[in-house]
């Protein structure tokens, strides 16, 4: 009982904190300081944080799949869903089902295989933390923001500006569709069957399950006290207790302590199990047609989403000269599109944290294999010269932590200028909005006709922040934009204008 309480407290805490981390558009939580995302299994693995991976494996080897019951937000989301289901179906019960071993290991194999073939998108789809992040980012966050705007409306009317309006916009259709399907499929499975996802498709569940088969502490039915009442099996959301055979499949057990709590005979116990060899448990038969169907559906859905809409390369067409970005703009700290593609699982934490609203889930910018990974888009803002937040929150090491000096010396892209689109050229009026926003003066205004000034580029000192592109007033195609650097380069330091100290002792009029 006490163990279940402890698990609940920790579980609820991680679920709440992680959820809030993803919806917190106002930056209330110190995002870089909360390590809950960094201790997730796959992100830690991809970040090469082998200490964390080792600790998680050791934890599993000692106590079973604690990760699944107190740290994994997707696992906790499923528990929450089952909890809701209980309200509607008072007498709901789980039943034992045999392990779908080929599905578990087949999926794991497919995920690992596709990952090394350069298709991190399959891992991204099934990795539980990232899948959860996307659900919150694309489904819950807009609701939270809308609620905030409603409150802001009421409060602001009474002259209180504690709440402020924030812009809600579609981050990416494909990611929204994926998030929605993830929510519907995993939610449905949790509603009906409990932790089915964890023990079929989840690659982390399979790896940890393999380890927990032999964990030091695990659940065991004591035949002498057990009266085969089946209460434990009915309470088991992993469907891994066979009360007739009096066995527990520890590879699928997520250590929720439901069974020990309901057992009236104290016949099922969580206990030290390394003293003598216990017989291998759990059946390995039966690859039911239903689960195969489920697996195929999931896969099918992936490709459906991939084909759902078909342009995304920052293309602008119109009366003035259109341009197309040839390479996507990968976020600061990503080193290169390739590094991003091999380390990111698209949890979208960076997307939600970016104060300038420039990180968006990609569609096909990085190809199908890099779908949903963050890409810079300057339609709602530009990359703040003095901000490194996304690099601080990334748990995967896909975005390397940058110091301010490193950020200033990183060239994510290079500015391009199309003179014939520029209002100074077309209308012969003053503008300078691009140069105004340029932090390094890679875009500066030089004399043109009369008193007019026109942009001039110094690409060596350009950092690719997109200030110029964002603010350029030319329509429909902008006159200035940033071309992505497939591999980030070093931006040269700008040379200071000579500071001549002018002594003034009069007003000049």
């Amino acid at each position: 009982m006490i163990l279940k309480r402890i698990r609940l407290v920790f579980g609820i805490l991680s679920l709440l904190l992680l959820t809030f981390l993803f919806i917190d558009f106002a930056g209330l939580l110190p995002a870089g300081k909360i390590p809950l995302a960094d201790i997730q299994f796959v992100p830690a693995l991809l970040a090469h944080s082998f200490g964390i991976v080792g600790a998680l494996l050791l934890l599993t080897l000692l106590f079973g799949r604690m990760y699944c019951s107190i740290l994994c937000p997707m696992g906790l989301f499923q528990d929450l869903t089952s909890r809701f289901a209980k309200i509607f179906k008072k007498r709901r019960k789980y039943t034992f089902s045999p392990e779908k071993r080929w599905l578990r290991y087949g999926t794991l194999l497919a995920v690992v295989g596709t990952y090394f073939a350069g298709w991190s998108v399959i891992l991204s789809l099934l990795e539980p933390y990232s899948a959860f992040g996307r659900m919150v980012t694309h489904l819950l966050r807009p609701i939270y923001m809308a609620g905030n705007n409603l409150l802001a409306g009421v409060f602001n009317h009474f002259g209180n500006y504690t709440f402020y309006h924030t812009e809600i916009f579609l981050l990416g259709t494909s990611s929204l569709v994926v998030a929605l399907l993830t929510f519907l499929i995993i939610g449905y499975l949790a509603w009906k069957y409990g932790r089915t996802f964890c023990n079929t498709l989840c690659p982390v569940g399979t790896v940890l399950g393999f380890v927990s088969r032999a964990s030091m502490f695990r659940f065991k039915v004591h035949e002498e006290s057990c009266n085969n009442c089946g209460l434990c099996a009915r309470a088991c959301k992993s469907s891994c207790i066979d009360s007739k055979q009096e066995t527990v499949d520890n590879s699928r057990c997520v250590t929720c302590f439901n069974c020990t709590t309901v057992c009236t005979k104290k016949a099922i116990k969580y206990e030290f199990s390394w003293k003598k060899s216990s017989p291998s448990t759990g059946s390995s038969e039966a690859n039911s047609v239903a689960s195969r169907r489920r697996f195929l559906t999931t896969l099918g859905v992936t490709f459906l989403a991939a084909g759902s809409h078909a342009w995304a390369k920052g293309m602008h067409l119109g009366t003035n000269k259109p341009w197309t970005r040839k390479s996507p703009l990968s976020p600061p700290g990503s080193l290169s599109a390739e590094h991003l593609n091999t380390h990111c699982t698209a949890c979208h934490l960076c997307v939600t944290q970016c104060p300038s609203k420039i990180l968006k889930p990609s569609f096909l910018e990085y190809g199908v294999e890099g779908m949903m990974q963050p890409v810079m888009d300057f339609s709602h803002g530009f990359c703040n010269y003095d901000c490194t937040l996304c690099t601080e929150v990334c748990p995967n090491g896909a975005l390397h932590k940058l110091t301010m000096d490193e950020k200033h010396a990183t060239q994510m892209g290079i500015v391009k200028f199309i003179k014939t689109n520029c209002v100074v050229y077309t209308d012969e009026t003053f503008c300078g909005a691009c140069s105004e926003h340029c932090p390094t003066q890679a875009v500066s205004m030089v004399p043109y006709k009369g008193d007019l000034t026109i942009p001039q580029l110094n690409t060596a000192i350009c950092v690719g922040c997109g200030g110029c592109e964002y603010v350029c007033p030319a329509k429909p195609a902008k006159a200035i934009y940033v071309e992505g650097n497939p591999v980030h380069r070093k931006a040269q330091q700008f040379v200071d204008t000579n500071k001549k100290e002018v002594k003034i002792d009069s007003f000049g009029f």
Binding site: G27, G153, V154, N156, H157, F158, G159, Y161, Y164, H165, T166, E167, P355, S356, G381, N384, Y385, D386, C387, V423, D427, T429, F430, C431, G432, A433, S435, E436, H437, C438, P439, T440, Q441, S444, M445, D451, T453, V471, P473, A474, K475, F494, D496, T497, N498, K499, E501, V502, I504, D505, S506, F507, G508, F509
Partner: protein, 313 residues
């Protein structure tokens, strides 16, 4: 709060937000502003050599005290430049001490509330915070208002506008009884100078329109707003002389320690430009929006026609 109370409050809010201020009401507000200006003896004060708050106190005393511009019970809006995520030393934003001093004086003159805002170019939360203005103004007793969303702006018409005929203006300006314009003196790569008139771009939502449709004319046009600021306080304590309006480093900044205050927007920008010309060449004629504003009869570029008070501290 009971559910019923909450629903009532929500309903009232909904109802209230459907009301819109009419042009007539705005015109009435404008009248009171005009009469305040007329009473003065000095038209323009230029101060030099002091600290921001100290220079403002000198200037406002010379103009007859804040009580002449802000009446008891009035809602005041103070509009500084909070455009950039920059610290005060970088001179990208109005000096926070100056903003705080103005807020204090408004409250001392009996203002019922003082609201401070700007439509920032950088992320507004960072700009409000790192400019030091949020903290300084709040400590002085002002209310900081967001300007990051279109919901904070209302449509107005500019009958005298040549290129700019309508605009969405921030409600803090429209809902105030009087407002005070507090720009910082900077070089501007596009408009050449940013002073009092250019600071008006921070009260509108769609700045892109300005840049697309003759920037200099639009800047002059927005100043024909029928509720002009009662006072323009140009902060030239630190002046960004090059690479403005954003600036790159401290080498762009001159410690000029000056201030220009007037109710005449054309005069005060003229004076500030002439002052700036000593730091970095900037012929007055090149800053086109100043002459265009004079054409709109918003003030005079001929400083000899005005009663100018120069104070060296």
């Amino acid at each position: 709060m009971k559910r019923r109370d909450f629903l009532k409050a929500a309903a009232i809010t909904g109802l209230a937000t459907t009301f819109k201020l009419t042009e007539g009401m705005d015109l009435m507000a404008q009248k009171s502003a005009k009469t305040a200006i007329k009473a003065g003896g000095t038209d323009l004060v230029a101060v030099m050599g002091g600290e921001p708050a100290q220079m403002f106190r000198k200037a406002i005393t010379e103009l007859g005290g804040m009580g002449k511009y802000v009446k008891k019970g009035q809602k005041v809006c103070v509009k500084p430049n909070i455009g950039w995520d920059k610290t005060p030393e970088m001179a990208g934003n109005t000096n926070p001490e100056l903003v705080a001093e103005i807020v204090r004086q408004c409250l001392a003159a009996g203002a019922s509330e003082v609201v401070v805002f700007d439509h920032s170019c950088d992320d507004w939360r960072k700009s409000y915070k790192n400019s030091g203005i949020e903290e300084a103004a709040k400590t002085a007793g002002a209310k900081l208002m967001p300007a990051n969303e279109v919901t904070y702006y209302r449509d107005i018409t500019l009958p005298k506008g040549i290129k700019l005929k309508t605009a969405k203006v921030h409600q803090a300006i429209l809902d105030s009884d009087v407002w005070i314009n507090v720009p910082i003196l900077k070089n501007h790569e596009g408009a050449l100078m940013t002073i009092s008139m250019k600071n008006h771009m921070g009260i509108v939502w769609d700045r892109g329109f300005f840049h697309r449709n003759d920037l200099q004319q639009c800047i002059a046009d927005i100043c024909t707003l029928n509720k002009p600021a009662v006072l323009h306080v140009v902060d030239a304590y630190r002046v960004m002389k090059t690479n403005g309006p954003r600036g790159r480093s401290l080498s762009d900044v001159a410690n000029a320690k000056a201030m220009f205050v007037s109710a005449d927007i054309v005069a005060v920008d003229t004076a500030a430009t002439k002052f700036f010309d000593q730091l970095e060449t900037m012929p007055l004629e090149s800053v086109k929006h100043i002459a265009l504003a004079q054409d709109h009869k918003l003030g005079t570029m001929d400083l000899s026609k005005l009663k100018v008070k120069k104070i060296q501290l």
